[in-house]
């Protein structure tokens, strides 16, 4: 078991520079066998990762499972992670691949009817358990509006706004031409702006 860095520094600074530094330390601690340090990484990144996967799959249960699986996988492979890179992109790539696997698995096994029952129904805007994680009525409205987008717009929107990817990254992830990213994102935004106009007043 390696030395425990959290002992000396229980509350890592939350400013940006400190975050990057302490994240690197956390990862090195995990690589040296400190499992508790990984607990901190989980707490730092799980919300964002969950929001991302939920946005892609539109299923609370699936997102929950995939987030867990992604962290487990990341933990198992932490030794191969190089600390000069940011942790989150690596983690989210693992999660995205798991999500694609999930979609594939479901599609192979089930008919579309079953997919609907399982919460992949593109028509439904019910948030289910997600409602409990949204304090304000306006946040609920926001998520409902996003989830009512056709999946092709939703995925582009999620990658841009939740994951801050640029168009080229989105294009290469979704394997669509860059110009298509552009037009879909524009239309996704237009749709959302129509629905949520009153939330934009500032």
């Amino acid at each position: 078991m390696g030395e425990n860095i959290r002992e000396e520094k229980d509350n890592p600074a939350v400013n940006n520079v400190g975050e990057a530094v302490s994240e690197k330390k956390l990862i090195e601690a995990v690589q040296n066998g400190d499992k508790r340090a990984f607990g901190q990484l989980i707490r730092i990144h799980q919300k964002r990762l969950f929001r991302y996967i939920y946005g892609l799959l539109k299923s609370f249960d699936a997102a929950e499972d995939i987030v867990q699986e992604a962290f487990v996988k990341a933990y198992d492979n932490i030794k191969s992670f190089r600390t000069e890179y940011a942790f989150y992109p690596w983690l989210s790539t693992i999660a995205r691949n798991l999500a694609y696997n999930q979609i594939n698995r479901e599609e192979k096994k089930e008919s579309l009817d079953v997919l609907q029952e399982k919460g992949y129904d593109p028509q439904s805007t019910e948030l289910g358990p997600l409602e409990n994680l949204l304090n304000h009525e306006n946040n609920k409205r926001f998520y409902k509006a996003v989830m009512s987008l056709p999946v092709t717009y939703r995925s582009v929107f999620v990658l841009r706004h939740f994951e801050q990817m640029d168009y080229a990254q989105i294009a290469s992830y979704l394997k669509i031409p860059p110009g298509t990213v552009d037009s879909r994102l524009y239309r996704a935004r237009k749709l959302l702006m129509e629905h949520l106009k009153d939330l934009m007043s500032d």
Partner: protein, 451 residues
């Protein structure tokens, strides 16, 4: 140029995704056009709105979730603290051994779950039902099982559970009632020369019996368990079971699926371990076959799903936009063709051989900057090149025009217009100075206009 063209481009302008000529054009247009200025303003408000309203609350939920994940990476059942470092053992055949272990566990658990289906005779044989003074081992009937860890043994070529020496702690998954016994197979303490405990003997028998049962698919044992059992050294992935449609088995379907997935995780760690060895031996890159597989699969699905969806969603409304874009790009391209001799600024910049520096990367970008202390490996290089390539073509009007022509040809119902776009692509292919002939050829192929 059309106002509608500019209006379509404001969103990309707002994201700073336009460069050079086009951005300049938009900027000029913005000065004259109040409507476009207002749109830009709304887009900025929109960003703030998304940021504000996409926040997730629910502190308790997240703490609980974090604990759950921690439990999944850190089995609480066992008192042993450290997972044995696997690299100290002989790795030859380990993947195979792990697969064998996984298979036996899957089979064992499957039988435990389906004990009602099995004849009394078999159940006695594998110890699920008392016969004489045999000890009873049962898993809680409703508890799916997670394989928490495997501690590989000192090297050994044989395949039985005890000689593989794996220890597998089994505990109920989240959300499942925890009452009932924890099924535990501990064989490592008895690996060499020690007497085999009864439970290990039972597990081995179970494996034998289940292998037998697998020969007869009608008995309700999922085929995938059979696949698991016959895994060879090269096999990396276990298939998801096609469960036999037996009614009694329905409620256990998930458990069986889960088990096979867990078995898959085991082979996954074997693959990972192999790659660790590769690193030790001086090679630089760690990409396990599983990872690669994941990536390929992901890409494949993305392509498949998206292609259909793109077609349906775009057809209805985007013809007008592509027409407008085609027309405006035609202007830009024909202008820039006059000064062809000068290489494109974008190209020159993107392909310069200077090593990138931190200042080249936008502050909000997490992804692409790498401090090149070490040479890039093949995958990283490919990633960088892909993104550079995308970056370049995305901003080249010549390329964009090709796409616009293609889209118009695809979407229009006007035969004349279709032919005109196809003609453009054909002519483009013929011209000597065309930069994206491959792309044009591909578009023509998509349009079925090429042999």
């Amino acid at each position: 140029m059309e106002h509608s063209y500019f209006k379509d481009r404001i969103s990309a302008y707002h994201d700073r995704e336009l460069k050079h000529e086009e951005e300049q054009l938009i900027r000029e247009h913005l000065q004259q056009c109040a409507e476009c200025r207002q749109l830009l303003d709304e887009l900025e408000k929109f960003d703030r709105m998304v940021e504000k309203h996409s926040e997730l609350a629910g502190g308790e939920y997240w703490e609980e979730s974090a604990r759950r994940i921690e439990a999944a990476i850190r089995p609480e059942v066992s008192t042993t603290t450290e997972v044995t470092r696997i690299s100290s053992y002989s790795w030859k055949n380990l993947g195979w051994k792990l697969a064998a272990v996984a298979a036996s566990v899957a089979a064992l658990a499957f039988i435990a779950f389906h004990e009602g289906d099995l004849s009394r005779e078999i159940r006695q044989k594998v110890g699920l039902e008392p016969s004489g003074d045999q000890k009873v081992i049962t898993a809680p009937a409703d508890a799916p099982i997670t394989i928490m860890r495997v501690v590989p043994p000192p090297e050994s070529a044989d395949t039985t559970l005890s000689e593989v020496g794996a220890r597998i702690d089994v505990k109920p998954r989240k959300g499942v009632p925890t009452e009932g016994e924890t099924l535990e197979i501990r064989s490592d303490e008895f690996a060499d020369g020690y007497p085999k405990p009864e439970r290990v003997r039972l597990a081995e028998e179970t494996l034998a019996v289940s292998k037998e049962a697998i020969q007869q698919p009608a008995s309700g044992i999922p085929k995938a368990v059979a696949d698991t059992a016959t895994l060879g050294d090269e096999t990396e992935e276990l298939s998801i079971p096609d469960l036999a449609p037996e009614k009694e088995a329905d409620s256990y379907e998930f458990s069986a699926v889960q088990l096979v997935q867990d078995a898959r995780l085991l082979t996954d760690s074997a693959a990972k371990a192999r790659s660790e060895i590769t690193v030790d031996s001086g090679e630089t890159r760690i990409v396990t076959q599983m990872e690669r597989k994941d990536q390929e699969l992901g890409a494949e699905i993305a392509v498949k799903g998206e292609q259909d969806i793109v077609r349906l969603a775009e057809e209805a409304s985007s013809l007008e936009m592509w027409r407008a874009r085609r027309d405006s790009l035609s202007d830009i391209v024909s202008q820039s063709e006059k000064k062809r001799e000068e290489p494109s600024v974008a190209l020159e910049k993107s392909f310069s051989l200077r090593a990138p520096e931190a200042s080249d990367v936008p502050a909000d970008s997490e992804l692409m900057y790498m401090d090149l202390k070490e040479p890039l490996d093949k995958d990283q290089l490919k990633q960088v090149l892909d993104s550079v390539y995308n970056e370049v073509i995305r901003h080249d009007p010549e390329y964009q025009l090709l796409e616009a022509q293609y889209q118009v040809a695809l979407l229009t119902t006007d035969e004349g217009e279709h032919d005109q776009s196809v003609k453009y692509l054909r002519d483009y292919l013929e011209r000597e100075d065309s930069a994206y002939k491959m792309q044009a050829a591909w578009y023509l192929q998509q349009l079925d206009e090429i042999d």
